[in-house]
Amino acid sequence: AQSVSQHNHHVILSEAASLELGCNYSYGGTVNLFWYVQYPGQHLQLLLKYFSGDPLVKGIKGFEAEFIKSKFSFNLRKPSVQWSDTAEYFCAVRNYNNNDMRFGAGTRLTVKP
């Protein structure tokens, strides 16, 4: 099964700083890629997804992610974070051919006002 690596366990930023969270995966075949967010005390929400086409995908709340196939990466970015972005972020990779879906360990983002 594919494995998913999120390199940053805890990121602390000040408001208006730029954000980039790394995600790499191990599977070489066709994949669907996702970022989920979990706000404190809440449940998982889909932030954005990549299926095919333009490798730069835009999600909710100003987030975007870029799929770089040659690097097996799907990094999440936001130009200017807000205090309300404080949450845990999970990268997920779905094997298109057998539906297996695995998650990274998550990155906790703390944004200081």
Binding site: A1, N32, F34, L44, L46, A92, Y96, N99, M101, G106
Partner: protein
């Protein structure tokens, strides 16, 4: 219902007891996943079912854990002789079949507390 439904939403059980957690996937979804989220931990894969294929049980942490999916729909995750380290939120998700672009939809989870 329109979404993935899990029950119970909260379960407190005594150490050593067995528990059953239920997941009702979205109608027509052939894939069903179970994950576990412990305090301060990420999403740990437990098991997934894809149609009539044999489930991938590679994530089950011990033989006290088992899961079944009846009629390709409802799934039950059973934990026997619960231990305190089993305390976690158990999440279920479902999606459409392989060979197509699809996302997984999550239930609200069952918070299990073993005392």
């Amino acid at each position: 219902g329109a979404g993935v439904s899990q029950s119970p939403s909260n379960k407190v059980t005594e150490k050593g007891k067995d528990v059953e957690l239920r997941c009702d996937p979205i109608s027509g979804h052939t894939a069903l996943y179970w994950y576990r989220q412990s305090l301060g931990q990420g999403l740990e894969f437990l098991i997934y079912f894809q149609g009539n294929s044999a489930p991938d049980k590679s994530g089950l942490p011990s033989d006290r854990f088992s899961a079944e999916r009846t009629g390709g729909s409802v799934s039950t995750l059973t934990i026997q002789r619960t231990q305190q380290e089993d305390s976690a939120v158990y999440l279920c998700a479902s999606s459409q079949g392989w060979g197509r672009d699809t996302e997984a939809f999550f239930g609200q989870g069952t918070r299990l507390t073993v005392v």
